[in-house]
Subunit: 379 residues, 5 copies
């Protein structure tokens, strides 16, 4: 039966899927499960200090080792998860706990932070606005932060909001080249959080559009749009809430990897996270209010339709009755009381006059109620 329902009418576009990440029912904890559609990993190492900058394409994970031992900051950026062997070798190079590796590959993790002594695992979620429609892509970013290195693992090479940071490193803008790997991690987190703002801006605009549409011309599509926005804001909320805790932990926890200097910057990043949450909640309330307005607007429309029907029926039904009366066939010859009007000289004009009076009276009645003006305005 549901199969039949699936034939969507042309004017109703299919909703995007819920995009939920189901944690795979693990067999052995720590198992790396490679999605068959996953992209082959592309590894880029950027090693810099205030004076120098090296950017290398890495083919063998073991090639990183040289860079990791130096005092300079090494950023190893892995894009794509399609090769188990390379990932496991990466795990050995960076000496990762087996659960860290599993979390990285399982793209269903909630943002969180795990302290492994000399390493911090930060799982974040970034959003990138879709190009043509509003909506967004959401992607997990894993950061492993050590004293002199930062390993980042992303699912797809296509979407990324780190270009600004790359440029700042390359062109030596700001203080990024003077700071350690903790400042680099902060810069990336900041870029991730800042990436929520353009997405939210789109929703803000869309809500404003719907606010007008819902009053002026509510259609089933409007309803669907409101529902869609509510659903996507729910997703944004799930993405941003745990990140607040993550960043808060980074600020409060006593890990030595994060310097006090960077903690001040993280406070700024935390403020932006709270601001994003604020906006998401505000938009959710607005969207929820829009649903109420929609329902009311539909009821209003019904009122207008019913008014029109009532006006037309109430005017013509009595008139038709009068016409019906004089369509009766009582025999006027049998009795002077049988419809003498039919034989009056002014019978017909009087009858039409009566109808005119009735309809005029009703029109005035409805005019005073204010129904006529409205009925002819609605579109």
């Amino acid at each position: 039966m549901i199969k039949k329902i699936r034939r969507l009418p042309k004017n109703i576009s299919k909703l995007t899927s819920i995009q939920d990440y189901y944690h795979q029912q693990g067999t052995v904890p720590g198992t790396i499960i490679i999605d068959e559609n996953a992209v082959q990993p592309n590894i880029i190492l950027i090693d810099y200090n205030q004076a120098e900058l090296i950017r290398v394409q890495i083919n063998n994970p073991e090639d990183c080792t040289n860079y990791l031992d130096t005092e300079s900051v090494s950023w190893v950026d892995v894009q794509g998860l399609g090769n188990r062997d390379i990932l496991e070798r990466l795990g050995q190079v960076f000496d990762l706990h087996c659960l860290v590796l599993e979390d990285m590959v399982n793209m269903a993790e909630r943002p969180k932070i795990e302290d492994y002594g000399d390493q911090l695992l930060i799982i974040a979620r970034m959003v990138i606005p879709k190009e043509r429609s509003y909506g967004f892509h959401s992607e997990q970013v894993n950061l492993v932060l050590g004293k002199h290195y930062l390993l980042t693992v992303q699912e797809e090479p296509e979407y990324d909001c780190f270009d600004g940071v790359r440029t700042r490193i390359k062109k030596n803008k700001g203080i990024i080249r003077k700071q350690g790997s903790d400042y680099l991690a902060y810069s990336l987190l900041d870029a991730i959080i800042d990436g929520f703002f353009p997405v939210l801006e789109l929703y803000g605009e869309r809500i404003e559009e719907l606010e007008e549409e819902v009053i002026v011309k509510p259609t089933p599509q409007t309803l669907q749009q409101i529902y869609k926005i509510r659903r996507e804001l729910l997703q944004l909320r799930r993405a941003i809430w745990p990140q607040r805790n993550t960043i808060n932990s980074l600020i409060r926890d006593s890990s030595e990897i994060i310097s006090d200097d960077v903690r001040i910057y993280l406070r700024d990043c935390y403020d932006h996270t709270v601001q994003v949450m604020d906006m998401v909640e505000t938009y959710r309330e607005l969207a929820s209010g829009l649903m109420d307005v929609y329902l009311s607007a539909v009821s209003n429309k019904m009122n207008e339709i019913m008014k029109l029907l009532t006006v037309v029926s109430s005017i013509f039904i009595p008139l038709t009755f009068v016409a019906g009366i004089y369509g009766m066939n009582f025999n006027t010859e049998k009795s002077p009381y049988n419809m003498p009007e039919l034989n009056w000289y002014w019978g017909y004009p009087l009858c039409l006059g009566l109808m005119a009076v009735i309809s005029a009276g009703l029109i005035i009645f409805f005019w005073q109620k204010g129904w006529l003006s409205n009925s002819f305005k609605i579109k």
Copy 2:
């Protein structure tokens, strides 16, 4: 009166029962009440260390004693609660507090953890998706964790999500054979939590289906489905919320039975629990939003119906009135003012023309309002 209502129409399937577990009004605390429908217990003991593995079917609970004293991990799995004698003898073998035994048999307990010094009682709730329909079975699992043994008690032998763990023990996959009974308990809890994901996946799919159905073809069955999903998500929520506290207690509490190593794994399990809660809440909000959409969609449908009625009535009522006019029997011979139209040469064509003009005018009016197109589209 209610009896009569119970005759359900054929197209409305009976809702599943609320499945609530009412704690039986206890007489003496610690009393074991055997449900008469309960299955006879089937006891299986698996005793393993890294080198060896023994799997025995136990008939007398006392037979376990030999295994419990050894350093190897002994997993005693009891399936079925239909024999008071065996349960009480089990209680003596494992030296259980009388309340522990009562809690195990009473299948209405909330997930919780109780520390009895050298034993930890963990009560969990597992869910297994139904085979043909969406929905799930829910079953209480009791774990009594000691230094070298784990006793698990389940209600029914039929449903179980521990096969993965059994295989890992049997085939010596992962590190399970190298670890103690605490790791085994973790593995089972992890399997229980992971068991929520396929159930949630089904609800995710069902919500997506309903999202289309509710816009395209809302029926009373749709309404019923939404309500059913809300009710079942409420049950899932009741099952998962207390488990978060349970696992959190396992991580934080200072019981010596759980090693620090296993606590790291439990943190992972905790993250999955939070993820399940997140998804349940999200689905609950989606289902609640669907209800709003349903109400709006029904209102929209009403609008369409009313539009059609209004269009038909508004076009034909005036026409019928005109026909009624010329059906009147005023005597044209008595006066030249009495319906002279009837005797005109072009009277009838003119009359039909008038009707055509009126109806054309109204059709144009409704066309401009956009009512005609919609009225004929709705299905």
Copy 3:
């Protein structure tokens, strides 16, 4: 005006009163105000240890004194509050603070616990299901717990859920005769909490009945029932919430009157309290969801009604119009264009045929929309 409204139609039963307990605007704190309808107190003393059991009907409160001093547990159970003199003498015998006495008599207290050093005042609220209808009686129970005695004060002798405990003392079942007054207090509290389950079970059943009724045959009575359930669950919630804190205080606080052994049992009682709260909240959410379903079901019904009206009107109004056309009196003799159809040989059959074609077309149109099938199914 409200007087007139009060004539309830026969099919709508009067809602039970809100049953709120208004604290009487106290004059002097500690004043005992005797309700004039209160029952004369009936005092029964049960004094027991492991070996012996004495059960005495007490007429003079001073007679208790002998029993209180002994090591054996003395349970003084007062049922009925209709005699100020006896209550004040009881107060002197047990050495009660004036506020304790006031709280006992004022049947509007919230469940709470007050520590007076060598005495604990526990105010609880028990519920007893009504016999014929669903619904419940709610009654305050006051417990004053001392080292070797327990004083319980109840409003009415009729309702009580302590019979199980009395039997266990009498027949020496379980460990109750081996334990002190704290275990007796626990047993009574446990009986009170367990007394919520049968009440909730009734609501569970009633909600299931309403779930069907609301889909199959929603009536104004259904609406009223849902509202009534919501209101009564609100009352249950007010009764159970503070008891959780009460029992939690008993477990955590360091009063010497409660032994550690009994605290373990109280933990079990606490779990049941949380379970009751859980179920109350779940039922509240279900009842609230039912209201939404009801509203939707009523809207659906309206749709069906409107469809029927629209189908009938849309089919017959055009037909009536056609009949109206050929009921016009244009003079066929004056012109060959004046209704020549009337004089055709096949005029009437053709006209009927036209009507048949129109109605067949409309019926097919409505059939395809699926309106006809539904319109004739609704009951």
Copy 4:
């Protein structure tokens, strides 16, 4: 445009104003702004100990000084705020901080407590039920509690709930004359909290009335009443919530002015405050549920109206069509197929019979649907 709307129809009473207290945009903090409508202050001093009682009307604030120094309790009760000079002199006599004086005069303060070392400022809000209608007056009461004195400042002399306390002092009832100023302050706070109960009782009754009205005869006035109750309960909530914190602070804080004895009494007062909050929340939920019921009841009513229309239309429209058929003017002489029924011997009775059969069939159809019974019951 809004001006025109303001002409309220006679049957809709104007809602009472929102009664919000807007803090005046302060110029200099500590400024005393005298409302021009304020009443001239009337100062009464009651000085008592266990043995003696003096009651004096004070004209010059300085006259209090003699009483304040003594060990006896001095209660200075100021009613009316219309004289800046007297208020400032009072401030000097009692050595008040300038903010205390400002808070007293600004009748918009939230209930709070401020500790100024040897003085406690307690701001409370009392409610007094209106005499004829339900609803309530709300008034701020300021208490300045010192070691041996209590200063109370009220806005209006008219409303007051302290008469009970005055009588107890005068007639030396209870222990009030044996206790210090802290017990007096407790007695007044207790009277203020107890003053909420009669107001709530009125709302309880009103909600019960509306519960019937909303099912039996919902009108726009019912809707307005529900909204009004919700609004006024919101005000009560704003008045009672901060008082809980106030009293809790009095119990917990370590100020020396409050003796431990009085703290026990304050615990009782705290319990009553929580009870008031409980009831306010319950009533708010009931009122909110009533709104849902109202909406459903209005929809039900619409269903009944539509059923009647549908029944009437569906029965008469087909009959009218049949009558229309035989009102056609096909020429029976031109052809034997042209309406031969008109010339049948039993034509007219057969025609009436056909109509009777049609209407009987439809009536049976609607009867089976259960529509007829309902349509004629609604009032």
Copy 5:
């Protein structure tokens, strides 16, 4: 398609924009981005102690340096952010952290407080009521508080609520000239919080107006107004909530810049903030309740319309049927049973009488239902 919708009907005013401040996706943290529409900064320095007062217009930020070192309080008020150079030089003069400068210029910050040791950065948000319509402007105010100076930075010179403070300094009113820079900061914060009250007063009035409008004459504009109020209260809430934390931090934190004396004043300011929050929440609940009332009122209106239609249809349709009967053309000559009424002497009067009886009966029926009175009252 949306473009077409944008043609708003004349009677629906465009909603103001959501006014959200999107944090700009930062490139380098600490970057100052100058909005191109920003006003050129206008800097005014007021330096005062109890004896003297200097007011200078500053052109070069460096000119402030002399004043900052003195013991007297220096208030540097910058209005306008349109010049990067001046802002950076200001930053050097006051030795500001680069993030402080960025926060100041980015007008999207949430109110917060940051402690930089010898400086406190306070970000607040002030609201100023619009002049002609209700609604408000919202503007960020940045305060940098040092031991002897206060730097304030505002976006626009036009709106400001500090005139009262300026006057108090100038005319030496109150204690402001005797206190330090911390008291000045308090005075400004107090003025900002007090500025919320007139805005809220406007919303209070508007809600009261809508309460009447919604019952008396609900229109789509009413709906839009309610939605608008809800949206703007949401904005107010976002502005006031974080300020509570800000002021609370100022009271609790141990910064040496704030003296204990001023903390007492800040407690007063905190109370006002809580009061504003209270009022915002109350108004939000009222507005949300109004939406329910609106929906109910629209449904009520629909009921009235349907009643009128039903009354008119139910009265005239049977009458028209009777007229239709006697319009049939059965041949009275062929049979005595063929419409003998037509030839009766009293046929026509009897027929009219029958109609009169039918209509009288129906009118009485509807009168008793109370439908007639209502139908003619609605406007």
